[in-house]
């Protein structure tokens, strides 16, 4: 079990989008509460799945487990719709001859599944666009970090 949380830098993840309106500079940022404060990647107890977890500063809330396509499961905040956990089964990465998977492949698949999840309309479960954008940025950042802690 990987107990090490990797801190997320708010400034690196949450870059403002600037525009000009009537000559006034307008900056829009993802709500800081939508940006995870930390993340970690782990393999499940029976080594059959990859788990990517996110931690937020905005406190605790009940979570719902939502199965998605291709053996992907999301743990979503019941009130906020924020993504707390993404579980990817190893079968998701099955290739013809082996299970050789590198970290960047896990992150790439997770990113694409999260993006898909964000575009899937759900009646009761709100989708936090800002949170999805922030998580995508976090995963992008981790893909470029070769020393990312992973057990």
């Amino acid at each position: 079990m990987n107990d090490t949380w990797n801190e997320v830098s708010q400034k690196e993840i949450n870059r403002p989008k600037s525009s000009s309106k009537q000559g006034v500079k307008v900056k829009i940022l993802i709500s800081p509460l939508d940006v995870p404060s930390a993340s970690r990647i782990d393999v499940g107890d029976d080594a059959s799945e990859f788990i990517i977890e996110f931690k937020y500063l905005s406190g605790t809330e009940p979570k719902l487990t939502i199965p998605h396509e291709d053996g992907v499961t999301f743990s979503i905040g019941k009130n906020s719709g924020k993504i707390y956990k993404v579980t990817l089964t190893k079968s998701h990465f099955r290739t013809s001859d082996s299970y050789k998977i590198d970290l960047s492949e896990v992150l790439r698949v997770a990113k694409s599944e999260i993006s898909e999840y964000g575009q899937t309309p759900r009646r009761r479960m709100p989708v936090r666009i800002g949170n999805i954008a922030a998580i995508q940025n976090v995963l992008n950042g981790q893909m470029t970090q070769p020393n990312y802690s992973f057990c």
Binding site: K21, L29, P32, L57, G59, R128, G130
Partner: protein
């Protein structure tokens, strides 16, 4: 705004004691009603005690009703929230103001403010800029959804009644607070047009357009010679994962706020949300 903190603290304590005393009294009254004064061992009690017992039994129904009303009133007072939480929130807003505007510490506090706005689906009390004496909510329904000031840093300019429309139709949301509320994002505006009494009408129009405030609201500020902020930032506040309101920073300096005023205080805003769990 949450003013009269001393009165609130006193009322909260009184209501806590009242509920305890009233609930104990109701239980005792229930026991007294089970007593038969003609039977042993009560028949041997002093005559004064039996008289009191008899009176309590005779008036037990009105007494029960009275105690129920007292408990209900005390419960309503308690539902406004523990003033301790609001005192701490005031402290956090003051500190947020001091840190976010530390370069302007020699200027009056009310030139650079931090205000906590709360979302209310229904608002009858506060007065919108389009409101009248009989219809304070103005041309919109009081059930439209509003961002109402709850707390402000400092000790001056506490009597603001500025409220912003935050309706279901996000396009109609007013102010930078309304924009942050609708988009669930942080919004930062710098270098807003300088609007002053006797100045250009175009400036008023531009200011209103950029900040998404009603023109009438901007005009009211100009007419009463009140200074409008030249930079504004707003960021959402969550309680238990649900959007609760917005924190707005406004400054009379064109570069008074920046994206760092929001990004560096993520923990502060999260802490406000945590404390609000215990408030009303």
């Amino acid at each position: 705004m949450r003013n009269n903190i001393t009165l609130r603290r006193w009322l909260y304590r009184l209501s806590t004691i009242t509920i305890g005393v009233a609930a104990t009294s109701a239980t005792m009254l229930g026991l007294v009603n089970e007593v038969h004064s003609t039977e042993e061992p009560y028949s041997t009690w002093p005559i004064t005690a039996l008289t009191v017992l008899d009176a309590l039994q005779r008036y037990s129904l009105p007494l029960f009703i009275f105690l129920a009303i007292v408990i209900a009133i005390a419960a309503v007072i308690r539902s406004f929230g523990d003033p301790w939480v609001w005192e701490k929130l005031q402290f956090i807003l003051d500190e947020y103001q001091a840190k976010a505007f530390h370069q302007r510490c020699n200027e009056p506090n009310h030139h650079h403010r931090v205000t906590l706005f709360r979302y209310k689906k229904v608002c009858f009390r506060s007065r919108h800029c389009t409101g009248t004496l009989l219809k304070p909510w103005g041309k919109h329904s009081p059930f439209s959804g509003w961002l109402v000031p709850a707390l402000r840093s400092g000790h001056t300019s506490q009597h603001t009644k500025a409220i912003f429309l935050a309706p279901d139709n996000g396009d109609e949301a007013e102010g930078v607070a309304g924009q942050a509320w609708t988009s669930k994002s942080a919004v930062v505006l710098n270098d807003l047009p300088r609007v002053r009494k006797g100045g250009l009408v175009r400036d008023v129009r531009d200011y209103a357009k950029v900040t998404q405030c009603p023109i009438k609201m901007v005009q009211q500020y100009v007419t009463s010679d009140r200074k409008l902020p030249l930079s504004i930032a707003a960021t959402p506040v969550e309680v238990n994962g649900k959007l609760w309101g917005v924190v707005v920073l406004d400054s009379r300096a064109a570069d008074g706020v920046s994206d760092e005023s929001v990004l560096n205080y993520q923990l502060t805003v999260a802490l406000i949300g945590q404390l609000l769990e215990k408030a009303a």
